[in-house]
Amino acid sequence: MNLGPITIPWELIRIVVALVAILLFIVVNAGLVLVYLERKIAGFIQRRPGPYEVGPHGSLQLIVDGVKLLGKELHTPACGDKLLFWAAPILAFTPIPLLFLPMPFARNLVGLDSELGMVLILAFAGLNVLALCLAGWGSFNKWSLLGAIRSVSQAVAYEIPLLLTVLSVVLMAGTLKLSTIVEGQGTWPWQWYWLRQPLGFCVFFVCMLAETNRAPFDLPEAESELAAGFHTEYSGLGFGIFFLSEYAAMIVGSSVCVTLFLGGWQGPFLPGFIWFVAKVYALLLTMMWIRWTFPRVRFDQLLTISWRWLIPLSLLNLVATAFFMKL
């Protein structure tokens, strides 16, 4: 695009448009629909209605909650590191729209169809760990620091089987480009990669639950319900951003799982985008179902699961994949 002395490359415009669309997608889905679904599902599983008063069947509850969070005072701990304290929520949320860029939403609906799409996602997902560190340190609270240390340890421990499982799929597909991986899978469920890598699928799902501090692995954030976690000191919008980024990270994790194992946008009869969203929501609903079924895992049990079970299993998976690829 030629604006006199400046020439804006077409790819840049495409990325900016994609980012805006993705931000809209995230805010509507993560902020409004998902949290509402979570509370409703939690209610139904516990034989109660969930949000019911505000709006028909409680649908406007989230908007009201958002207004409430906005209205609270933004308090900073007096002796803490102010810069790091407020950098943490921003750092937690900012990579998320970036993670959606290489994701193929439909056949031609990709923000940045990069040759290294998978690496892009894995690299920026690691920034979440830094955000946790900064939050724990900047809070000037011993127990927040301990909570942050624990969640960093958890994230690092579950990153390894995640990478190994992704490596197995990439080895099988032969490429890091996400749209090629999706196109390599067929239209019907038996042609997707989850049947060729069943162990990989299960391990990836569990790792995704642990990476997003979700479900039975939510010790870091549950501690803030009890006494301390990395986001205890945050009020109002700071907490809101952490909350939003957690749900957005859930969507990212589910999208990656769908892309790698469940055939992305492939599906019979209906257009690709609808299948993609349907599959992501199926995974998200399963994650919520798991959350309201199982008790929290103790911290040493959590690390045991990762180091003694998931890593050997994913290594086995990788070796088996390499073996069968060679044949």
Binding site: F44, I45, Q46, R47, R48, W289, W292, T293, F294, W309
Partner: protein
Amino acid sequence: MTLWREIREAVKGLYSLAVGMKITGKEFAKPWITTRYPWKTVDNLSTYFGHVELVPGAEDPGETSCIACGICAKNCPSSAITVKAAPSVEEPAAEGEKKKKARKKPGVFLVDFSLCSLCGQCVEGCPQDALRFSRHVYWAVMDRKNLTVDLLDRLAKAGGAKAGGNAGLPDA
């Protein structure tokens, strides 16, 4: 072999996870138990738990299915129940048939309500489902001794009275 045992335990554990998911999945579809107060209210009496009483029999409301086994008395953590079997009446055997063992019946059945904590272990433990919570509301006494309920007496008086009510007895 320890590895094999660990793997077996892990598989059993995974199966228990699936069972848990099925339970919550089923609960999701069941109707709500809570009441949307203040738009809907619960009437106080239908959920009232009074002392335990004997369930009137299906055919004869004056008879109970209690067999005086004493499980309720054993289960009670406060030892509030006293059960004694009635002396058995043997029926004469017919010609050439074996003697039928007569079904035990309770002769004495007392509940000391001053000790009862309404835990429900007696109701849960009864193999005949012969006990239930009564709806004996607004009961106040002046002397602790008057808090002992004679359940057989109560059942006899109740006779054909409506289920769960105060058995038509005066509140005294």
